[in-house]
Amino acid sequence: MSDNRKQVLDMLAAGQITVEEADRLIAAIDDGPTPAAATGLAERPATAPRYLRVIVNAVDDDEGPIKVNVRAPLQLLRAGVRLASLIPPQAQDEVNTALRQHGVGFDLSQIKPENLDELIDHLGDLTVDVDGERNNMKVRVFCE
């Protein structure tokens, strides 16, 4: 019996979870990732992503179908984040306040160079698909 399964059964015995919850947890353990996948080795590409791709497809009433295809090197993103560190503290506060006013709870001062590589590494797993009803707009953001 695996440690995870034993832990679920212990929680059930202690009355911390219901039978249904225990069933769901055990099912999740059974369907869980393989050790290789759990370490991130299974699906991660052999080479690190180099480009950020933004593809926009839309249909304009006047111009007809419009396609925008942007391929920006991730190195540019890296340099851009470093550029953000040049913003003086008082300006950062104003930017943070403005972001919060628009519903974006993001703190510029939390972007630190030591976190940058980790951030960019994880961008490799990022894919954003946006389907908008207006102009049949489709936006796809991913790394390659």
């Binding site: 480009y51 304009d60 111009e63 007809g64 179908p65 419009i66 396609k67 925008v68 295809n69 942007v70 391929r71 920006a72 090197p73 190195q75 540019l76 890296r78 340099a79 851009g80 470093r82 550029l83 560190s85 040049l86 003086p88 503290p89």
Partner: protein, 89 residues
């Protein structure tokens, strides 16, 4: 390495003619032309950086990295009428 060349290609798609505009931009010449102005602007940049509490050398290094990172950037926009491609090498 900073980008040394760029290509701007414009192709009208509605036109029946085979007109295509393909403009290679020798960025190396742009940098050479801009260099005297950049040198003149350097003292102002240093004073402004120090006044705002930013290390000017660090700022220059980051701007240089930003410039270098522009290489291999590619932007293309296609509409029914025109297709535009900008590629920085």
């Amino acid at each position: 390495m900073i980008p040394l060349a760029a290509v701007v290609a414009v192709r009208p798609r509605r036109s029946s003619s085979n007109f295509r505009l393909w403009v290679p931009v020798p960025l190396v010449l742009v940098w050479l032309l801009a260099l005297p102005f950049l040198v003149l602007a350097l003292p102002i940049f240093f004073i402004a950086s120090l006044a705002s509490g930013v290390n000017p050398f660090r700022a220059l290094w980051i701007f240089w990295q930003l410039l270098c990172a522009l290489s291999t950037t590619r932007v293309s926009v296609e509409s029914r009428a025109t297709s535009i491609l900008v590629h920085i090498f």
